[in-house]
Point group: C2
Chain length 233, copies 2
C-alpha cells in the first residue's frame, strides 16, 4: 500500500502520514498503547524512513504519541486524568488571555463576538447545534487573539484543538449547551464593563464547567470502549 497514490499534489508525504495517523488515533483505530514502529509504517505506506520519522515527531509535539529513545513510539492514552490536565492547562491560559485582551478589544471585535454568540443561541434554541463546536471555537479565538501574546495564544490553540476533537466525538450535553450560552452572555457583559476580576472568575467557572461536563461524558462511557467503536456509533 502506497500512501502517495491517494495524495493530492503539494502535500508532503510526512504531512499526509501525520494526518492519517492522527485520524486513526483520535478515531480509536489505533488505541492507547499501540506501538508505532518505523519499520511497519515504512512497509505499510510504502515510503522511506525519513517522512515516517518526521510524522511521528510531529505527533509527539501534538501530545498524541510518546517516543521513547531506542524503544519506539506508542500512542498515549487520552484518559480521564490526562483530559483533566489539559482542561486545567487550557483554563489557566484562557484566564490569562482574556485578561490581556480586555484593553485591546475594539468595538468591532465586540460586535463580532456578540454576533457569534447570537448564532450559537439560535442553534441551541433550534435543537440542532450542528456548528456549535466550531462557532464556540471562533468565539474564544476572536477574543483571545486580542491578547497579543503569540506564545500563549499558540499553546492555547494547540490544546483547544485537541479538546475540540474530543468534543466532536462526545458532543455537548444538552444541559452544558444551555449553561454555555449563559456564561458567554456573562463574558460579554463583563467585557463591556471591563471588569477584569469578574471576567477571570467567569472564565474559570466556564472552563471548569466544560471540564466537568466532558469528564462526566467520559465516565458515563462505562463500557470503556471508544465511542467510535460502539454498536450504536
Amino acid at each position: 500500500m502506497n500512501i502517495k497514490m491517494e495524495m493530492e499534489p503539494g502535500v508532503p508525504t510526512y504531512a499526509a502520514l501525520r494526518d492519517r495517523l492522527r485520524a486513526e488515533i483520535l478515531s480509536g483505530k489505533l488505541p492507547a498503547g499501540a506501538r508505532l514502529t518505523t519499520a511497519s509504517l515504512v512497509e505499510r505506506f510504502g515510503v522511506s524512513q525519513m517522512p515516517v520519522r518526521e510524522a511521528l515527531q510531529s505527533l509527539e509535539g501534538e501530545g498524541l504519541i510518546e517516543i521513547a529513545p531506542h524503544k519506539g513510539a506508542a500512542v498515549l492514552p487520552l484518559d480521564v486524568s490526562r483530559v483533566r490536565n489539559i482542561y486545567d492547562l487550557r483554563g489557566a491560559l484562557e484566564a490569562l488571555l482574556i485578561r490581556l485582551a480586555v484593553p485591546n478589544l475594539s468595538n468591532r471585535a465586540m460586535a463580532q463576538a456578540a454576533a457569534l454568540h447570537d448564532r450559537m443561541k439560535a442553534e441551541v434554541a433550534s435543537g440542532d447545534p450542528a456548528d456549535l463546536f466550531s462557532l464556540n471555537q471562533q468565539f474564544h479565538q476572536l477574543l483571545y487573539r486580542h491578547a497579543e501574546n503569540t506564545e500563549a495564544f499558540n499553546i492555547y490553540n494547540r490544546y483547544a484543538s485537541l479538546l475540540g476533537t474530543l468534543r466532536e466525538t462526545y458532543g455537548f450535553s444538552k444541559a452544558r449547551a444551555n449553561q454555555m450560552m449563559d456564561e458567554h452572555q456573562e463574558i460579554l457583559d463583563a467585557l463591556r464593563a471591563q471588569d477584569e476580576r469578574r471576567l477571570v472568575t467567569i472564565i474559570e467557572h466556564h472552563c471548569d464547567g466544560a471540564k466537568l461536563d466532558m469528564l462526566a461524558l467520559m465516565q458515563d462511557d462505562k463500557q470503556h470502549v471508544h465511542p467510535s467503536l460502539r454498536d450504536n456509533a
Copy 2:
C-alpha cells in the same frame, strides 16, 4: 569546517548543531533577523541537509527562530515585548501548578524546598550568589512537579529555561535577589498553611516582580547592544 570533528560520540549531529546554533543566538552572535539558510549551514558545518533541517525545526519549537515556508529560517527577536509575553505565560502556568501541587506535597518535599531556600538565603547574604539562578530553578521545579500535570509542567519548563538563559546573561539585580528571598519565605509559609488563595496571590506577585526586574534590566541596556557584545562584558 566540520562540526563532527568536535563531537563527543553518542551525540547526534542534529543535536550538536541545535545546541551550537542556540548558543550563538542567545549570545547575540546571531542577531534577531539573521537568516539561516540550509545551504549555508550545510557548507559551514560540513553535514548534509537532513540534520540541518532537524536542528532548525527543533529551534523553531523552542521559539528561537521562525521558519517561513519557502522563505527560510530567521532568528526571532527576544525583545521587551516578547519577554513580557513569556513572563506572563510562565506566570499563568506557575499559578496553576502551585495550586495543583498543594494537596500533593509531602513533608519530605517541603523539607527539600526549605533546604533550597536556606542555601539561597546564605548565598544572597554572602554577596556572591553564583548558584542563585540554578537553585531558584530547582526550588520551583521541585514544587511544580507535584502538580502532577505533565502537560503544564513541560511547557513551564520550556519557557522557564528560555528565561533562565536570559537571566544568566543579565543576572539578578541586588534588590530583586533580596525581594525574592522574602517571597520564597511567604510561599513556604502559605504552602504549610495550605492557603490556596494566598498562594496564588503571592505567586502572581512573585512572577510580576521577576518580570519587572528583567524588563528594567533590558531597558537600562540603553545602547541596545547585546550584553555579551559590550566592552565591559
